[in-house]
Assembly symmetry: C2
Homo-oligomer: 245 residues x 2
């Protein structure tokens, strides 16, 4: 198999994770750092999404999967292609030009952007060569290329999507409490939810299954643990045609 890069087309991956401790929706970003040749000056020092050019033999989905695996080691994660970005000037601000010059990928590049939902606990940020780091979506660092725009659009899509489909469980451990689920919704949507109503609603879903287990190691009343059954969700799923425009 030849690995021929296509210089015009890349994938970029917006990796969402959720930290139950800080109750924060986070993004996994990699550092971009460049000094001048004589080492006297820092030319570029910011963060970007992970991404790479596609190979000629790969589908777009495979490219995105490869890029995510390269960064995190993960393969079976929720993945969504949400938009292509192709402004001819998208990589043309000063720092980006310096960086591209350095990296020698000097073509107009259209990028197919994906977002991923991963369980934070599954990613060991110290174990990779990219100096990857989690950042709260509410407190992002300086971003290179057009990646801030890409992130914001991914986030908007995620907000809509998580209201319509039970993808939120992709961000949580397999066993979770009701209140943890509520916290994720609140973090993503930046809203407050009534706990009593939320509990009732969630517990009544057939695909939310109570386990014979409670939290351990907490210094308070340990909460009931639940799991999400994708099987049951898919079996009972039926399209509804409620016009809510």
């Amino acid at each position: 198999m030849e690995f021929i890069k296509n210089p015009n087309i890349s994938v970029d991956c917006v990796v969402f994770g959720y930290d139950p401790k800080t109750k924060s929706l986070n993004l996994l970003l990699i550092k971009r750092y460049l000094e001048s040749k004589d080492g006297s000056e820092v030319l570029v020092d910011d963060y970007v999404l992970t991404g790479y050019h596609i190979y000629e033999h790969e589908t777009l989905d495979d490219s995105a999967t490869r890029v995510l695996k390269e960064l995190t080691g993960l393969t079976n994660t929720y993945k969504k292609q949400f938009k292509a970005f192709g402004d001819p000037n998208r990589l043309k601000n000063e720092k980006d030009m310096l960086w591209i010059d350095n990296e020698a990928f000097n073509f107009r590049t259209v990028t197919i952007a994906y977002y991923f939902l991963v369980k934070t606990e599954d990613v060991d940020v110290n174990k990779n060569k990219y100096q990857a780091k989690w950042f709260p979506i509410t407190d992002l660092p300086e971003l290179g290329f057009d990646h801030e725009k890409i992130i914001l659009e991914a986030y908007e899509d995620l907000k809509v999507k998580c209201l319509a489909e039970p993808i939120i469980f992709e961000l949580l451990p397999d066993k979770f409490t009701i209140n943890e689920v509520q916290d994720v919704y609140q973090s993503i949507l930046n809203i407050e939810i009534d706990n009593r109503n939320f509990r009732r609603k969630l517990i009544n879903k057939k695909y939310i299954i109570p386990l014979d287990e409670k939290q351990v190691g907490v210094s308070k009343k340990p909460a009931q643990l639940y799991m999400f059954s994708k099987d049951i969700y898919e079996k009972m799923y039926q399209k509804n045609y409620l016009i809510s425009m």
Copy 2:
């Protein structure tokens, strides 16, 4: 301005129209026809979406707009970029190879697919050089490339989108009756809707404005005409956070 084509990247346009007379959701497709050199054999005879390679100075949106204008003359239409298609083998079945050979665009091509909603009455199919023709979505002709797949995904996206946003009015004349709106929903979603409930719901929307006009030239009770006010919709629009997963 130089018009340099990018050989790796194209846009394809799924053009939806609605015919109130046949109550049919239609697609605008262009003919693909190729004979062998000696004229003894028809090598390719099917239909495809309109599309073209992007120019190096254009944004993706501009490319799609250009392609639609080229085909229909229209510029101010509803447009949505809904997905990129990039399977390395997407243009590699027998007929497509013959065609591509003929047309000399012989590279792997990723296409950024858009769909458009147009008012059928605004398009004069006879007035263009592409032998464009409307086809009911329920009765499509043989399609080239991977365009059937693209069409089906556009259609799925449209079905979801038209439930959440009032884009359906893009398919109707500026003045319409309630029953026409109901017919469009029924055609797109392939469902039956109760007329009384639908009327009440629609008439109660503030952005549906009754006009001092009735249908003319109909051989029955002429119906009340309404218009859609995008302004009012946008002013009153507020996100709701109903979790309906």
